[in-house]
């Protein structure tokens, strides 16, 4: 397999520093949204919803220090079964997997 050509223009070093300059504040805001959401559902007594449980599991992956966080979190929120369903449970997905058995 040929080496992946770099997409960067020559001398584009400062662009990597800008990732943090531009990305930190919006990402900080999203993290606080997650924290406030978990506080909110506890305060309102709905923290045992399977989707909230899935989110708590995903947060553990976020903080485990290993790479591939986005991929691993998406996998943790996915239906792990491999056989097609006999009947549809409705048009819309829910965002986290709940066993249908």
């Amino acid at each position: 397999m040929p080496p992946t050509p770099t997409p960067r223009a020559a001398g584009a070093g400062p662009a990597s520093a800008a990732l943090v300059d531009l990305g930190f504040v919006p990402t900080r805001a999203k993290l606080i949204e997650v924290a406030a959401f978990l506080d909110r559902v506890e305060r309102h007594g709905v923290a045992d919803d399977y989707r909230v449980e899935a989110l708590r599991n995903a947060v553990r992956l976020l903080a485990d220090g290993q790479p591939g966080r986005a991929q691993r979190i998406l996998e943790s929120l996915s239906d792990p079964t491999t056989v097609p369903d006999e009947v549809s449970t409705g048009k819309a997905a829910y965002g986290a997997y709940k066993s249908r058995t």
């Binding site: 992946t4 050509p5 997409p7 960067r8 223009a9 584009a12 070093g13 400062p14 662009a15 990597s16 800008a18 990732l19 531009l22 990305g23 591939g68 986005a70 991929q71 691993r72 998406l74 996998e75 929120l77 996915s78 239906d79 792990p80 079964t81 491999t82 097609p84 369903d85 006999e86 009947v87 549809s88 449970t89 409705g90 048009k91 819309a92 997905a93 829910y94 965002g95 986290a96 997997y97």
Partner: protein
């Protein structure tokens, strides 16, 4: 800059959107057949929709000098009703010769059911029989991983399918290599709230190398952004990508895939 919007549901958009896309550098838009937000009750409803995306919508786009192409199918959200699906699949061939039709799409799965899978197989048969390109929709959220694997399995098991003529769309970090590793093209969809953001899309380009990839907005009647592709170009520029690389990702890559259909020809203005 120039780019191709390879996946936009323009019947849901206004002429303001056409104007904004052209001003941002859009050279062509491709419209896959899609769910209307409600279930159609007969094949005649689809016949009218196919006329809309093969006759009326190209004329509306032409007022903004934007070439418009389309893909035909019954989408997986309406594929639970096998009798209706059979009627719709049967009327597809009469539209395949329309000058703007690129292939069969966006077929695929929604909730990963047996009926959806059966209708997916019917569509693949039609595509192979008529030597058409294939555009595949992968399911949403928790259904995407399983659905992508089922789709890859059914495509790989069909002896007439050439992976290089199939694009599997709406990939995310957990499905992209599962598509690319089998020789298919992969599409990354840029949505404000789900699927991928421009920064995540550019991450996936960096990690996989950008071969056999396109980016699209999939703009429709829901929360979506018809300028999402040029916004991804801005993200690439912020990261120091060269203009040539951006042109490759947003123009030459989709051009390479779509040009496998001889009807996908852009005018002199976009040559370069």
């Amino acid at each position: 800059m120039r780019y191709i919007e390879p996946h936009g549901h323009m019947v849901s958009r206004t002429t303001d959107d056409y104007e904004a896309m052209v001003l941002a550098g859009c050279q062509a838009v491709c419209e896959p057949a899609f769910w209307a937000g409600f279930d159609r009750t007969s094949a005649d409803g689809f016949r009218d929709y196919f006329r809309q995306i093969t006759e009326y919508e190209p004329a509306r786009a032409a007022k903004f000098l934007l070439p418009h192409f389309s893909w035909l199918c019954i989408n997986p959200k309406e594929a639970e009703d096998l009798a209706l699906a059979a009627d719709v699949v049967a009327l597809i061939p009469e539209f395949l010769a329309k000058p703007n039709v690129l292939g069969i799409g966006e077929i695929g799965l929604n909730r990963n059911t047996r009926n959806e899978l059966k209708v997916l197989e019917w569509h693949i048969d039609v595509a192979v029989k008529h030597d058409q390109l294939i555009l595949v929709h992968t399911p949403h959220l928790e259904d995407k991983l399983k659905g992508t694997q089922l789709i890859v399995d059914v495509l790989k098991s069909h002896p007439g399918v050439k992976p290089g003529r199939v694009i599997i769309d709406h990939v995310e970090e957990h499905t992209i290599t599962r598509v690319l590793d089998h020789g298919f093209w992969a599409g990354i969809t840029l949505y404000p709230d789900s699927k991928s953001s421009p920064p995540r899309a550019v991450d996936m380009v960096e990690i996989t190398g950008g071969e056999r990839l396109w980016l699209n907005s999939a703009c429709d009647w829901g929360v979506s952004d018809p300028l999402a592709v040029p916004k991804a170009a801005l993200e690439m520029r912020r990261r120091g990508y060269s203009a040539d690389w951006i042109d490759r990702m947003l123009y030459r890559n989709p051009l390479q895939f779509l040009s496998q259909c001889p009807k996908f020809r852009l005018g002199e203005a976009s040559a370069g």
